[in-house]
């Protein structure tokens, strides 16, 4: 049987669950980004200009990158870690004649769908409030980077869900990795103004590259190809690590 049909089989079940909860999922994933948009874009950032753009224009791509990350990560990781640790229905996949790549990729796809649903809703908001975003000729590139970002953070969600040993561990991973990355990866501020050493450290975070690429595409700036390559490398690392972890834990 083909790899694609196995991946789809794993994805199919998660898609059925999402179908029942689509509205709730969308609403939940939009609460934080909309609050950030109101607080930073209209509140704190009113009247501030950044790199020649209004702060609202500047911050919208960052918030979209942040939304793609959190929604994809939790979309892929939340149900998977519960299914693996508590309901044990993940074991059923391990006992089926399908490969680890199919399981990891199939489980990641639902995170991608979660990420894209939330991000597209934010893109719609961004297009209506940000004139520069609306006018950018690089919107197709923006969409491509957004999809890649969703894959990268879905793979991270699957990796975290396969590594954790308790519900608390998943919370800790989110608190120590996802939340700091949300605020430090150039989502709300420009990396140009940060000290060199800190900047180097921030380039080790995948969200930094995602925000850089999305912002360049949204504001029609020179596109940071190196960041796109770095983002893809992060995706490959997370996917490979997930497959290794899964192979180590089962026969």
């Amino acid at each position: 049987m083909s790899l694609f049909s196995d991946i789809y089989a794993v994805f199919w079940a998660d898609l059925r669950v999402l179908r029942r909860r689509a509205l709730r999922t969308l609403a939940t994933s939009l609460v934080n980004p909309v609050l950030y948009l109101l607080a930073f874009g209209y509140g704190l950032g009113r009247g501030i200009s950044f790199e020649g753009y209004s702060y609202l224009d500047f911050v919208v791509p960052g918030i979209i990158a942040l939304t793609a990350m959190t929604s994809s990560f939790s979309g892929a990781g939340s149900k998977l870690h519960v299914d693996r640790l508590f309901y044990k229905c993940f074991d059923e996949l391990l006992m089926a004649p399908i490969g680890t790549l199919s399981i990891v990729f199939g489980k990641s796809l639902i995170g991608v769908v979660h990420g894209l649903i939330s991000s597209f809703a934010l893109v719609a908001v961004g297009l209506s409030v940000s004139p520069s975003f609306r006018a950018s000729p690089l919107l197709p590139l923006f969409m491509a980077v957004l999809i890649i970002s969703c894959f990268v953070f879905s793979f991270l969600g699957v990796l975290a869900a396969l590594l954790v040993r308790s519900h608390q561990d998943m919370g800790s991973f989110s608190a120590f990795v996802i939340v700091p990355m949300s605020f430090l990866s150039g989502t709300f501020f420009s990396l140009e103004s940060t000290p060199e050493a800190l900047k180097m450290a921030l380039y080790l975070l995948p969200l930094t590259h995602s925000s850089q690429c999305l912002r360049a595409a949204a504001l029609n700036q020179p596109f940071p190809l190196a960041s796109l390559i770095a983002l893809i490398c992060f995706g490959i690392i997370f996917l490979t690590a997930s497959i290794i972890v899964l192979r180590k834990t089962s026969v």
Binding site: A13, R16, Y87, D91, E92, L94, A96, P97, S250, V251
Partner: protein, 300 residues
């Protein structure tokens, strides 16, 4: 594949073979040097108290957990070398509810059918067939969370049978079920076995092993301490048990191979002041277990 000569039985006759199968967690042996053979078509019971190593054994046999050492063959395939072939041959019903609670019974069955590569037509046909087989037609479109414990178990069995497995592993299939539901589950298990499915069943219920299984292996602290048909196992200690209640209210047991011997012993006791009451009954697997483990009570 393992050697036919080594076993002395043909591959078709042996559904499960383990050779010194062992698993260590930390410093504790969950299973130690398990040597076991389950014949094709057999309804085999793996009996032991909680924590004896039953579930660990099932997890190793079903490719979920790696053995620390030793080998296991299921349907003729080495579990570690050919896990994908083993997975095609087996169905597993885990001890806990392992269905996706957010999906309906039908969707859970369809998922299993998809990951076992059934074609669209086969999927549809097999799902309907099994819903009917386990008596869940009316409940097919309810989510698993909406079902009672008994119906959830039936749905789990239906899912585990979707790809027509030769060997079915049932890990404590009736734990937590009421008496009526348990009996209905027993009927279903017997029917499956009569239809040709080899069944490896773990339980800590003595009466379940006695009522269902053609052969029983008793596991204690990770080690197989006895194996045979229920009557053979009872024969190891004696087919008759004299149960004595002492003045202090304590129970004492003595085993005999024939009733006449047991009656003679009871007559001798009639003069004893320290025995309050005495009764002769058939021995059972609980007696075997207690005798072999030096007085520990099953289910502890």
């Amino acid at each position: 594949m393992y050697s036919k000569n080594l076993l002395g039985r043909s591959l078709l006759e042996e559904a499960i073979v383990t050779e010194n199968l062992s698993k260590m967690y930390g410093q504790i042996w969950a299973v130690k040097d398990l040597n076991l053979r389950v014949h094709a078509g057999e309804l085999f019971g793996f009996l032991g108290p909680n924590g004896a190593g039953k579930t660990t054994t099932i997890r190793m046999l079903t490719t979920i957990t790696k053995p620390t050492y030793g080998r296991a063959f299921v349907d003729g395939f080495n579990v570690q070398e050919k896990p994908e072939m083993v997975r095609k041959a087996i169905g597993v019903m885990q001890q806990h509810l392992s269905l996706d609670r957010d999906l309906t019974v039908r969707e859970n069955m369809e998922l299993r059918a998809r990951i076992h590569h059934l074609s669209a037509d086969e999927r549809k046909k097999r799902v309907e067939e099994l819903l009917d087989y386990v008596g869940l037609v009316e409940y097919a479109d309810r989510t698993v969370d909406e079902l009672s414990g008994g119906f959830q178990r039936r749905a789990m069995i239906a899912c585990s049978l979707i790809h027509r497995p030769k060997i079915l592993f049932l890990d404590e299939p009736t734990v937590g079920l009421d008496a009526h539901t348990r009996r209905r589950m027993w009927d279903l298990i017997r029917r499956l076995n009569a239809d040709g499915v080899t069944i490896f069943l773990t339980t800590h219920y003595i009466e379940e092993a006695e009522a269902l299984c053609q052969r029983v292996g008793i596991i204690h602290k990770g080690q197989l301490i006895a194996i045979g048909s229920p009557i053979e196992l009872r024969g190891k200690i004696g087919l008759f048990t004299v149960v004595m209640v002492t003045e202090g209210g304590k129970f004492a047991y003595k085993y005999f191979h024939d009733r006449a011997e047991a009656s003679k012993y009871v007559q001798k006791l009639s003069n004893s002041n320290s025995i309050k009451s005495v009764v002769i009954r058939d021995s059972n697997l609980e007696d075997v277990f207690i005798e072999l483990t030096g007085g520990e009570v099953i289910g502890e």
